[in-house]
Symmetry: C2
Subunit: 327 residues, 2 copies
């Protein structure tokens, strides 16, 4: 099978490609060719040399989408986006990348299919940012999408396009609403959600981290490993069990910041917890107050998507995958 | 105040303009200028001569939106769209008119505001077609939008843009999800919902009409007079009571086809009912089966929007407004 990953240089994209490199047949068949695309040239794991081609490309630039669709990949995983903070700060860039780029891809696939029949599986990375407060205690699968950010709006619009293009038979689309990924490895990005990871990752590495909100803030989490698992599962899902409602809230863990910290204490001890410095930031606290805190992701669970059920597990995955198994 | 009506040659647009002509101050102030725009030149009621200007313009053509936004109207009512049947038959035209045209308008207003501060009230005609089956018995205000047509998708996307542009302060948007308008005057259009009106309008005029579905089909209705009332109410609504969720399902009447026919019998007698010819059309029956049947439009009702509560009332409004008060 031929596979195309758009946004392959991002955190989840890189981990997905590493998993494909490490586990032959993980996508349900052996890979004939793997194309990796992003605004910067994505890294190619050594195990994929000769099989993978990496290229730098801006999906929203003229002809980019047509070139990508012209590859006629069997499976397209579309993770490319600018993050919420940047999409809020730069209105035009957010719409250009997150909406126009995605729509250009969908249109290019449709037009490619007019030349010669073509109907790839397309897995799209959406986000729980499609929801906006106020929320019920648990957000069910039929709750409406009233985003309170331009990023969430762009994702919600892309979801609607994905469903309509799928219904029309232009591709087999499935949208994956990611929880906040925790623990994000590496350095902070522009996302306002960064502290959820920082307060674990930095103390685990012996560094101080700032907590800008109260401990009673509740949020919705999954590990990077689960995120990769969602895309792999979606790539092979029997869509006859999904029907026309193609966008699924992924399972996750609903937890308080306080529970995050308790798990850190259990896994890494009091010394790690003491590295968290409380410094309230009313701007970040205000943004976070508009975010969803808890879901009943019943449909995704019934379709076999899986995530962590405790913060201890989320921390141990980080220790295994990023710290060589040792704190 | 300066007012712009886009889609002023359509059925609801014309009736709205007639009401503005007949009732001075109905929009909350006297009209300095009224611009009427549509793909064909809209009619100007004689009472508005000297006040109204009519022009033919395609919103999706280059520069059209910029010209319209350059008028700097205080109130913009945007009703322009191609109907569901046409948007389903012609994928590209539907997206061009119903999505790109609307987005071009929103963008042009935003850019106009960058030249000199500008934040008009913008009332947008959406539709219950944003919803797709299966449905709960009554669709509440927080039910998700999973349209089963390209038309519904285009409306749902426009709603998301309207909310985000409003949140950003580019205009004061409010989206009005219209029920099926009944009784539509005049001749059938390409909408698959035409028969809901035909089976009343034609018999009231002594003509035969075809009923292509069963009598136990339930649907959601409001009169043209109510539709006009929704736009007039939305134009003056205190948006501080609305908050960021700017798209409202309008109140309506949930009724069976059988109840429609019983009302016809009460108002116009057995002779009229006998003009309904039952001729099942499985294609239309299939389309209608995917449509919503009943809503709890609590938010709109609490905000003062009003519709009919019986089919007798809907029929009498048609007799008053279209037939000079006589059957």
């Amino acid at each position: 099978m031929n596979v195309l990953v758009i946004g392959a240089a991002g955190m989840v994209g890189r981990k997905l490609v590493e998993r494909i490199a490490a586990e032959d047949g993980v996508l349900g068949g052996s890979i004939d060719h793997l194309w990796l695309v992003d605004v910067v040239t994505p890294p190619v794991p050594s195990a994929l040399e000769g099989v993978a081609t990496a290229a730098a490309m801006d999906l929203s630039a003229p002809d980019s989408a047509a070139k990508i669709a012209g590859l006629r990949a069997d499976l397209i995983i579309h993770l490319a986006a600018i993050v919420s903070g940047e999409a809020e700060a730069d209105f035009e860039k957010g719409y250009r990348i997150n909406l126009d780029g995605t729509r250009a891809l969908f249109e290019a696939i449709r037009l490619e299919g007019q030349k010669e029949p073509y109907c790839p599986r397309l897995v799209f990375a959406s986000s729980v940012a499609v929801f906006g407060a106020p929320f019920p205690e648990q957000i069910g699968d039929e709750f409406f999408t009233t985003p309170l950010t331009s990023y969430g709006t762009q994702k919600a619009i892309s979801e609607l396009l994905l469903s309509d293009y799928s219904r029309r038979g232009f591709f087999e689309g499935i949208g994956i609403r990611l929880p906040t990924i925790c623990i994000r490895p590496g350095t902070p990005n522009k996302a306002a959600s960064g502290f959820f990871s920082n307060i674990l990752r930095e103390p685990l590495a012996g560094q101080e981290a700032v907590l800008p909100v109260d401990e009673n803030v509740r949020h919705w989490f999954a590990s990077p490993r689960s995120a990769v698992g969602f895309f792999i599962h979606a790539a092979q899902l029997d869509l006859s069990n999904v029907g026309p409602r193609r966008n699924l809230t992924m399972p996750g863990l609903s937890a308080l910041i306080g529970e995050e910290i308790e798990a850190l204490r259990r896994v890494a001890g009091e010394k790690a917890v003491k590295l968290i410095r409380r410094e309230r930031d009313p701007v970040i606290a205000g943004i976070v107050a508009g975010w969803p805190t808890n879901f009943d992701a019943a449909r995704a669970a019934a379709l076999g998507f899986k995530a962590e059920t405790s913060f201890d597990e989320i921390i141990r995955i980080h220790i295994d995958d990023e710290l060589g198994g040792k704190v």
